[in-house]
C-alpha cells in the first residue's frame, strides 16, 4: 500500500483501500463516526445525515463519499457535533420515543448517540405522530412509534431475504414504513424472525415477542461503554468491498 492511500481525519492519518468510503476507512482505523442508517453489511444511501463531515471544507456524508488520497476531513469539531446533535433532536421529536418503556433501551443506537453527543434536553416541539403498533405477527411486534426511517429493514428484506416485506410509503413528514400485504398487517406477509430484516433495526421497531429484559437495564450493550467505544463492531465486513 503506497503512502498516498491515506487521508487526514481531524489531524489523524487514516489509511484506506480502494473502494472504501470515508466512513469505512475511519471505522477500520478505529475512529468512530456517528451514524444510524449506515450498516457495514449494506450499501450506504446517506439519508440520516448523522455521519456528515466536512471534506476539504465542504459538507458531505462520510458513508457515501469514496475515500481519496489527501482529503482533509473534519468530524469531531464543535460545528459538526452541533449539526449532529440537532439532527438527533429532530429525530427525537419526529417519532414517539419513550426510553424507559422501550425494550431496546441500552441497545438502541439513537439513544446511545444521544448520550454520546450530549443531547440532554428536548429542544423542538414534539410532533406526536399517530403510529399504531402492529402486533399481528405471531413472533414479532412492530412498534412504528420509534421508526427513524433508516431503511435498513427494507434493504435487508430486499437484498438479503429477497422478500420485500418492508417499503416506504407517504412523503415528507408523512413518510412511513409499510409491509407487503393488502391488509397492511405483518401477519399477512412471509416475514420470519429468522430474516435478516429482523436483526438490523437500530432502534426499537422490530421486536421479538415473548422476550423481555433478558439483559437487565444497566448491563446492556451501551450501558457499559458509550457507542464510540464499540467502534470495532461497526468495522467493514470485508475491507475494501462494498456489499
Amino acid at each position: 500500500m503506497s503512502e498516498s492511500s491515506s487521508f487526514i481525519l481531524d489531524d489523524q492519518e487514516i489509511p484506506f483501500m480502494p473502494g472504501q468510503s470515508v466512513m469505512q476507512a475511519a471505522l477500520a482505523a478505529g475512529v468512530f463516526i456517528p451514524h444510524l442508517c449506515y450498516h457495514p453489511e449494506f450499501r450506504p444511501h446517506g439519508s440520516c445525515k448523522l455521519c456528515t463531515v466536512k471534506i476539504n471544507g465542504r459538507p458531505a456524508t462520510s458513508c457515501t463519499t469514496p475515500a481519496a488520497a489527501g482529503m482533509e476531513v473534519e468530524s469531531n469539531t464543535p460545528e459538526i457535533l452541533d449539526k449532529r446533535r440537532t439532527l438527533l433532536q429532530m429525530l427525537l421529536v419526529e417519532g414517539n420515543h419513550f426510553c424507559p418503556s422501550c425494550e431496546k433501551s441500552g441497545f438502541c443506537m439513537l439513544q446511545a448517540l444521544g448520550y454520546e453527543l450530549g443531547v440532554v434536553a428536548p429542544r423542538f416541539s414534539l410532533l406526536y405522530p399517530a403510529r399504531p403498533v402492529d402486533a399481528s405477527h405471531p413472533d414479532v411486534l412492530l412498534d412504528f412509534n420509534r421508526c427513524i426511517l433508516c431503511e435498513l429493514c427494507i434493504r435487508a428484506s430486499t437484498e438479503v431475504d429477497g422478500k420485500f416485506v418492508f417499503a416506504l410509503s407517504g412523503r415528507g413528514i408523512k413518510k412511513h414504513l409499510v409491509v407487503n400485504a393488502e391488509s397492511g398487517k405483518l401477519a399477512d406477509t412471509n416475514f420470519s424472525l429468522a430474516d435478516k430484516a429482523a436483526q438490523v433495526c437500530p432502534v426499537g421497531v422490530i421486536l421479538p415477542k415473548r422476550k423481555g429484559f433478558a439483559v437487565p437495564i444497566g448491563q446492556r450493550r451501551f450501558d457499559a461503554a458509550p457507542i464510540s467505544a464499540h467502534v470495532d463492531e461497526f468495522k467493514p465486513v470485508a475491507p475494501g468491498e462494498r456489499p
Binding site: G46, K83, L87, E94, L168, G170, R171
Partner: protein, 609 residues
C-alpha cells in the same frame, strides 16, 4: 360501496387489465398505470394496488410505495369530485381562501375531508401554474381558472347534481396564454423539420451541430444553468451499460416551481419547437427514445401534445428514418407526473419515469452517464430544447446576437402578482427588474420574488439588477408584491410549500421543513419570540449544509432572504421579545374559566401576574 374488503369487482378487474395491457404490464410504466387506473376507478383501493402489483410482477410493497408518494394518487377515496385549490401566494392574493371557505360552507364540508356520501372533497394543492389567471382549481385534475363567487356557486350546484365534468361550462376550462411580450422563441415561425435539415446539412455525425450548441453558450433554463452543449457532449461520449445499451432524451416539463408557467405556454404555442429541440438532441447524443415529463397539473395538455407527436410521425419528423435519413430513429412519449415538486430535480424525475418514488439519487454518477434505466440520459427544460432548436436551425452566431455578455439568448418570464398585465414576457437576457415591473404595469412595488420560493426576494433597492446568469438567474417565476402586502405571509406560504413537498428522504429536510412551518405558524399566531428567529436561522443553516438535494438547500432561501431584507415584517409579529411558549397560556385557561363561570381580571394570566 368500499372495495377494501371485497377484492376487485369485475368492472375494476377489466379496467385494470385494460390499462396493464396498454402498458405491456411494464412496471417502469407504473406512474401511467396508476394514473390511468385511477381515472377510471376514482381511487386506488388496496385491492386495486394488489391487482396492479400482480400485473406488473412487482412486490406489492413497491407499488404501494410509489402510489403513496404522489399527491395526486389516492389510496383512500377522495370522493367522486375532488376540488383542489391552487395555494400559491398569488392565488391567496386573489382571494382563494375566502372562495374555498365559501365552497366548503355551501357543501357542508371541512377542507381536507370527504363528504359522508363520498361525493366530494375540497382541499388545497401546490401552485398549479395558473398564477396569471387565478384563483385556480383542479377538479378531478382538470384545470379551471379565474374562480369567482359566482363560479363557486355554480360549481357547488353542478357537484350536488352530479353533473359530469364533461358537461360543465367549456369557458371554465379555457386557459389563456397571456403573451405580453414575445421574442425569438415565442415569435418563431421556423417550419417543423428545418432545424433537423440544417443539422443534416452541416455534417453527417451531427458534431457540427453540437459545436453550434456549445458555441451558442446556451445554458439550461430550468434554474441550474448548466451548459447545454457540455451536457449533450458528455452524454454522447458516455458508454452505455449492460446488454441493452441505449440513450435517452428527457424534456423536463414538471414545471412545479410556484409562480412559473412559461413551459405551459411554450408547450401550447410552440410544441414543435420543443419537440424539434429534443429530436436534435437525439441526433447529437444518439438516442432513439425520448420522454416529455409533463406535470400532472397540466393533464389537459396530454391530448394536444399527443396530437402534435402523431402529426410529426406522419410527416416523418419522428419514428424510423427521420426525414429519410437511414438509421435515425427517434420517438417521444408524454409521461405524466402526479403532483410532486421534487420531481423537477432531474434524478428524482428519472426515478419517477422508472415507476418509483421521486427521491433524488445520490450523485455522482449524473444522469448523463447513468440516467433512465441506468443508461446515459440528457434531461433539459422545455425552454432549453426550444432554444436549442433555434440554434440548430439558425446557428450560434445568430443566437449570440440576443442577450448580453454574460448570458446569450432570451428568457421567458412568468409574471404574476400585483401588476396590471400578468402573463408571459420574453426578454433578451440582461433586462432589468425595473423594466419588467414597468412593462407589466406594477406600481408601488415592495418586493419581487424571482425564480419562485427557491429563488431570491428582491427589495426596491435592487430593482436595477438584471435577469441573467451573472446577476439574478431565474427559472422564470417573477412574482410581484405591492406595498400593501405582508411579506411575512408570503414567506409563510413558501415555508408551508416546502414542508408539503419535501420528499422525506433525509432527516434535515423531512423534519426541518416541518419544524420551520411550526415556527412561522407560531410567529403568525402571535406567540413568537426572538428565540424562534434564532432557531429559524439554526435550522436553515443545517438544511443548507446537510440536506440531500437542492430542495432542502433552497427551502431556507425565502426565510433567510426576507429576514435580512424585511426584518420588521417579522419583528412586529413578536409580541414579546422574551421567551414565549408555543401556545397561548391565557387561552389555555379558557376552559377553566368556563367551568368556574369566571371571566374577571383575576381569572386571566396577564392580570394575575
Amino acid at each position: 360501496m368500499s372495495q377494501r374488503y371485497m377484492g376487485t369487482s369485475m368492472k375494476s378487474t377489466d379496467a385494470i387489465n385494460a390499462v396493464l395491457k396498454r402498458h405491456g404490464s411494464d412496471g417502469t410504466r407504473l406512474m401511467q398505470i396508476l394514473r390511468e387506473t385511477q381515472e377510471v376507478l376514482g381511487w386506488l383501493s388496496p385491492a386495486t394496488l394488489t391487482a396492479i402489483a400482480a400485473g406488473v410482477n412487482w412486490p406489492r410493497s413497491r407499488v404501494e410505495s410509489t402510489a403513496g408518494f404522489y399527491s395526486f394518487f389516492h389510496t383512500e377515496s377522495r370522493g367522486r369530485y375532488r376540488v383542489l385549490w391552487s395555494d400559491n401566494i398569488t392565488d391567496r392574493m386573489l382571494g382563494n381562501m375566502d372562495l374555498m371557505q365559501a365552497m366548503c360552507e355551501k357543501l357542508w364540508l371541512e377542507p381536507g375531508r370527504v363528504s359522508a356520501d363520498d361525493l366530494v372533497s375540497v382541499d388545497t394543492t401546490s401552485c398549479t401554474g395558473m398564477c396569471d389567471q387565478g384563483p385556480a382549481v383542479l377538479v378531478n385534475y382538470r384545470a379551471i381558472t379565474r374562480m369567482t363567487t359566482e363560479r363557486v356557486e355554480q360549481m357547488v350546484e353542478l357537484i350536488r347534481n352530479q353533473t359530469p365534468i364533461s358537461e360543465w361550462p367549456a369557458a371554465w376550462f379555457k386557459i389563456e396564454d397571456n403573451i405580453r411580450r414575445a421574442d425569438i422563441l415565442l415569435t418563431s415561425t421556423m417550419a417543423p423539420g428545418d432545424a433537423l435539415r440544417a443539422s443534416f446539412a452541416r455534417d453527417s455525425a451531427a458534431s457540427a451541430t453540437l459545436d453550434e450548441i456549445k458555441k451558442s453558450a446556451l445554458r439550461g433554463r430550468g434554474g441550474a444553468g448548466f451548459a447545454t452543449g457540455l451536457k449533450w457532449e458528455a452524454c454522447r461520449n458516455a458508454p452505455g451499460h449492460g446488454d441493452k445499451t441505449a440513450r435517452y432524451v428527457v424534456c423536463n416539463a414538471d414545471e412545479g416551481e410556484p409562480g412559473t408557467f412559461k413551459d405551459r405556454v411554450l408547450l401550447t404555442r410552440q410544441p414543435d419547437l420543443v419537440i424539434e429541440g429534443m429530436t436534435v438532441a437525439a441526433l447529437i447524443i444518439g438516442a432513439d427514445k425520448g420522454f416529455i415529463y409533463l406535470r400532472g397539473e397540466y393533464r389537459y395538455l396530454l391530448e394536444p401534445l399527443n396530437t402534435v407527436l402523431a402529426r410529426r410521425r406522419k410527416h416523418g419528423l419522428l419514428g424510423e428514418n427521420i426525414l429519410g435519413r437511414a438509421g435515425f430513429n427517434f420517438d417521444i412519449e408524454v409521461h405524466l407526473g402526479a403532483g410532486a415538486y421534487v420531481c423537477g430535480e432531474e434524478s428524482a424525475l428519472i426515478e419517477s419515469l422508472e415507476g418509483k418514488r421521486g427521491v433524488p439519487r445520490n450523485r455522482p454518477p449524473y444522469p448523463v452517464t447513468n440516467g433512465f434505466l441506468n443508461q446515459p440520459t440528457v434531461v433539459n427544460n422545455v425552454e432549453t430544447f426550444a432554444a436549442a432548436a433555434l440554434i440548430a436551425g439558425k446557428g450560434a452566431d445568430w443566437y449570440r446576437g440576443f442577450g448580453n455578455a454574460r448570458s446569450t439568448g432570451t428568457k421567458i418570464l412568468s409574471v404574476s402578482g400585483d401588476c396590471e398585465r400578468p402573463g408571459i414576457y420574453e426578454y433578451p437576457f440582461g433586462v432589468s427588474v425595473r423594466q419588467v415591473l414597468e412593462e407589466s404595469g406594477a406600481h408601488n412595488t415592495q418586493a419581487v420574488q424571482v425564480s419562485g420560493p427557491s429563488g431570491i426576494c428582491l427589495n426596491r433597492d435592487e430593482f436595477d439588477r438584471r435577469i441573467d446568469f451573472g446577476d439574478v438567474p431565474t427559472a422564470g417565476a417573477f412574482m410581484i408584491f405591492g406595498q400593501q402586502r405582508d411579506i411575512f405571509e408570503v414567506v409563510r406560504n413558501f415555508v408551508h410549500f416546502f414542508a408539503h413537498e419535501s420528499c422525506g428522504f433525509c432527516t434535515p429536510c423531512r423534519v426541518g421543513t416541518t419544524l420551520l412551518r411550526t415556527l412561522v405558524d407560531k410567529i403568525a399566531d402571535g406567540n413568537g419570540a426572538r428565540a424562534d428567529i434564532d432557531e429559524i436561522f439554526h435550522i436553515n443553516h443545517l438544511l443548507q449544509t446537510t440536506a440531500h438535494c437542492g430542495l432542502g438547500h433552497t427551502a431556507c432561501n425565502p426565510l433567510l432572504d426576507t429576514l435580512e431584507k424585511f426584518r420588521p415584517a417579522y419583528e412586529r409579529r413578536l409580541n414579546l421579545l422574551k421567551f414565549v411558549p408555543a401556545f397561548n397560556l391565557d387561552a389555555a385557561l379558557s376552559q377553566a374559566r368556563q367551568m368556574t363561570g369566571r371571566d374577571d381580571a383575576g381569572a386571566h394570566l396577564e392580570a394575575a401576574q
